[in-house]
Symmetry: C2
Subunit: 201 residues, 2 copies
């Protein structure tokens, strides 16, 4: 263990074998036999996610944020979030962001700007996410996928930010997007008029 450098170290793991005990259209399990960094044999099951996660935070000139609500089956709970989806193989993140925004809200965005990239749960999965800020919005008809039952609402940015801060909005991509948009508004990385509207100044 050394202190105070940003240097990357080399891979300390050795892979001695692998099986794939489960796969579906969304992910597969790579069950590795490994030699741990400390030299001991073991196993490491990695959940490989087939799609890039893409999220879009749509904000109006007056600071209102558009959100969608849906029942999240894995949680057994309802969740309000920004529009999100998965990029199909070969689909660029930007194209996916446009598609999900249109499908879930009907909006097209005059400006779609990448504002954050994340590794979602890096001890267990290889899932990555790209988040966009959508502005200059033009309304249209939403057309959610047949398996999606969505509600929509908008709320002032300040209200959405408070719901993130107190845990009422809990989706990690939405949490990160809203906090990043706040950071951008505070640090002059969002147009002054919109920043003022978001911050209520």
């Amino acid at each position: 263990m050394t202190d105070n450098d940003w240097d990357d170290d080399a891979n300390p793991w050795t892979i001695t074998g692998m099986t794939q005990p489960f796969a579906n259209d969304w992910f597969r399990i790579d069950a590795h036999d490994v030699i741990h960094p400390n030299g001991q044999p073991g196993t490491y099951g990695v959940i490989r996610i087939r799609r890039l996660a893409v999220g879009v935070l749509p904000i109006e000139p007056d600071g209102r944020v558009h959100l969608v609500g849906q029942w999240r089956f894995p949680l057994g709970r309802y969740s309000w979030e920004m529009p999100e989806g998965g990029a199909e193989p070969g689909e660029p993140a930007l194209a996916c962001a446009k598609r999900e925004l249109a499908e879930e809200t009907g909006f097209t965005a005059g400006k779609l700007e990448p504002i954050l990239e994340m590794d979602m749960s890096n001890s267990l999965t290889d899932e990555m996410a790209v988040i966009f800020l959508a502005t200059d919005l033009r309304p249209g008809a939403a057309r959610p996928e047949p398996t999606e039952v969505l509600k929509r609402r908008s709320a002032p940015f300040a209200d959405v930010l408070e719901r993130v801060a107190d845990g009422r909005l809990r989706d990690s991509m939405t949490v990160a997007a809203v906090l990043r948009a706040h950071h951008m508004a505070i640090t002059g990385r969002i147009a002054p008029g919109l920043a003022r509207a978001m911050l209520g100044r």
Copy 2:
């Protein structure tokens, strides 16, 4: 689809069967047979994570943040992050935060404050995270788990924040924690002296 209420809807899914095709010490797969909200039959594989994810952002009075670096096997990449770990069954999040902070950095914190809760990847997993801000730090000897090879470093909060903003720090819990700490410093939710040190004002 309705507009403009925060109300939750009832569960629109029906579960007609389930198998558990894979399990290890970290997660299991619940492969459900379902009736989709639109009435069509299908399947929904849920990755059930056995541990609550816990992260700790340790900040010194002068605004320096302590980070740990490690090779993340699922990504095949090195990653700098705040101290993180999983709460064992029955272990409260706060106790886990204390333990991970001590194991990975040696520090004990005079103040450990929960600042964020998130659902990590809610279309595929039930993983949840709780994030703490650690201040009033007292140094000690780090004692990482035998399977962990960690480097440590500290950096000014402003540097860490820029690395989050530009995607060099990508771990989702760290990203959210750093942006939430910025939000707290800006909005008077961190002691004024520390907030000034973090923001360089």
